[in-house]
Symmetry: C3
């Protein structure tokens, strides 16, 4: 599946419109594609205010007091679920978790019926993760005007809060995006993280974006990015190096894709390769990491790593976006 | 299993006594059978006060502040669990969820031991759902005087909060029950919803109650209701038409029961059939719906449908009953 | 596995050091082994203050307001999870539950990565249960200085909050430990409860501790306790009789261990045997009970049983230890 296919087929540009209300205010968070850079920066600014020093009490507010957030995880993810759960609770919301994994999978129409049911229970916001594309947009098209949908991971298509936390992490370390070279390394063709982070970086006018992968995992028809298969070339002088999690099932799926050890030799981020990057480059990873496959532990735990900051920033940008949607709802 | 068998075998009349304390106050909610109509109407009145307009903040109070509610779901049900969870949280209670599904099934005696354990942790109220009959009454007989048990679905026997929400929904649309004709359609013989809603309607003096099902699913020894197998006759001039969820396993289980398509033709509620009902008839369904089997989407989503209101009313009556039991406990 | 092996191999003495900060204040709760008796008594004193009369509202405070507790149960346990969850919520904490059971088992390194992730989300305390030894200590060695780890059950090694609740239960009924004879009966060799309760009793200077088991389940190299295999001799004149849960899989595992019925005849606590104990002896069990195997129902539910009090005391000591760790953190 190419980026073109995704864009055209799944309509992320349409999602960009769908997530705005009639006054142009953000009502849902479905995609970073096409998002106004001023809006994006405002979310990052607000997210930054929710950061506290390690060991200090977590930021809290009453922005969502009296509201109910439902975590609807059709695809399981402990870390993303907990991040959203804590973000919502720290804003004063009631949170209910619904883990609808494969064993009790619900089908097409009945997801909408479940949404109608939860909406009738006065759930105000749905945090939705699904391995099927389009579920979040479909839900957004069905909910009432005062209900918001947040995309917590959509198939290979997008993961906008991951994009937001990556942007905040980069901005805190590197400042302005215009002069930055960002290298994203891994299974670009199947990565929703690459999609959302790329879209956000493009919106904020990143200097140069390099998408580096084995030839078999190159995306199609990407604009605004350099497609590369040579990692050493790709990492050279990069200010930001982001390793993606490689799905181990890819090794079995496709002939020609190197397996674990071989992948590490060919595309793994280790100390040797990091010497090619800018001296003060930072290293990122969306987690969970396959240590020794896409990233070496010496780098993951080394001085250039900002991987744990990404997680902290994740709660912060989720608080920012939940608060924003709550405010826009009240305005509406 | 016939209604007679259930009444006599499982002792819903005894449950009616069991749920009162020595002063005649409601201590548990086990059944609507034999409930005082004045009590019933008071619960509906209070439930109505917990309704807010769509888009308005959900009703909240501190009626259960400092109390702990345990959702003990031996039979899984996401929607009923979430409805009770939100009702309890919006009243200020702490809620713990225990999903004891088949894989970790507990047996006879150890359910009581688990209840003793949770009671010793100062759980104040148990919300219990089980596919075995009698579990709720058994628990009610074992708990201490200051602990309440709420039936959240008992085998084929009863589902009293579903009955309450059905009554509230009908009352809000139709006012007085005396002049109403209510038609319940589906697998009457195995439906705890039919049992509880029928019991509530009888208590409130409904004009005429019709229980309509295929011949194989007719209940035994029902009093106070017309047993019918002809749906067209049954639906004619009805003020309320309630379709029940048909368990698909029935089709396989019993010879003679029509399968999906055939069931829809024979007993499904569609626009054509609804023309037989009173002009201003409402359509109800306890959910989750098998669209195209017991109900057509055009009816489920049409102007006569009050199905989503039922869900909203569900949270409201659960708040009312939780509050009432908390108050009666303090009085005791 | 012998106690010696455990002590030397898993380093509970090292854990005793590991759980203190540089000022000697308790930072984690990993083990009761080597704990200062004054500290132990202080925890029991504080726990006692969190007890309320049956039917009275549960004790509550704001000691953990603004803090986040993660229940990380790699080994499932509904009762211990709920006990910790209620203790934390009643102190005002936000609680997230992560049930990492066998089906989604995480391995070695990635447990640490998950901890880093949750810590980056500003989780303040980890409540950890695992069937592997050493997990809690391993986590404690990796977390930041302001994060605490509580052992909620570690392999065969220890279960310190169970030890604390046993101590509180005994103290409330029997007062000073010096003159007491305590008999623990069952699978001593594999019982983390026996380990922790023994360590606590030793620290508080119990008069005589008897560990009674079938010959096949005798622990190795125990000091400060009498190892016995004759239950009648072991129970004679005991002030406290504690039956342990026997894992039914033992019966199959090892030749020579009596099965259910036979075990009951040989080591079960019944009314007849209790006549050998002191007249005012109390009977304890950590739960969940195998009634009719290690304990007879007439004893479990009889006048000498304090089994349900143990459960209440469990929430109370967990509140005490959570509060203490929160206080020590703030001091640090």
């Amino acid at each position: 599946m190419s980026i073109t296919t995704i864009n055209e087929g799944q309509g992320t540009l349409e999602q960009s419109d769908l997530q705005l209300d009639e006054n142009g205010l953000l009502r849902h968070l479905l995609t970073l594609q096409g998002m106004d850079p001023v809006q994006l920066e405002a979310i990052l600014d607000r997210g930054e205010e929710f950061l506290t020093k390690p060991g200090a009490p977590a930021a809290r507010s009453n922005a969502l007091a009296g509201m109910t957030v439902a975590n609807l995880f059709i695809e399981n993810s402990t870390r993303t679920r907990v991040s959203f759960e804590l973000a919502a609770k720290r804003l004063g919301a009631d949170v209910v978790n619904l883990n609808l994994n494969t064993s009790s999978a619900v089908k097409g129409e009945s997801i909408v019926d479940m949404i109608y049911t939860l909406q009738a229970m006065q759930v105000d916001m749905f945090v939705v993760r699904d391995h099927q594309p389009g579920t979040q947009a479909m839900i957004a098209q069905h909910v009432d005007a005062y209900v918001s949908v947040l995309n917590a991971g959509e198939a290979n298509v997008s993961h906008p809060t991951q994009g937001l936390l990556d942007l905040l992490t980069i901005r805190r370390h590197k400042g302005r995006f215009e002069e930055l070279t960002v290298a994203i390394v891994g299974d670009i063709a199947h990565s929703r993280v690459a999609m959302s982070t790329s879209a956000g970086l493009a919106a904020l006018g990143v200097g140069e974006l390099r998408l580096i992968s084995p030839p078999e995992l190159v995306p199609n028809n990407v604009t605004n990015a350099k497609i590369m298969t040579d990692i050493d070339e790709g990492i050279t002088n990069a200010d930001v190096v982001m390793a993606l999690r490689i799905q181990k099932e890819r090794f079995a799926d496709k002939a020609g894709i190197p397996d674990g050890d071989e992948y590490f030799r060919a595309y793994g981020i280790d100390e040797q390769r990091m010497k090619l990057a800018a001296k003060d480059a930072i290293v990122m990873h969306p987690g969970p990491m396959n240590r020794g496959i896409e990233i070496d532990s010496s780098v993951a735990d080394g001085p250039q790593s900002v991987i744990r900051e990404q997680v902290s920033n994740g709660v912060a940008v989720r608080m920012a976006i939940l608060e924003l949607l709550a405010q826009n709802r009240r305005t509406a």
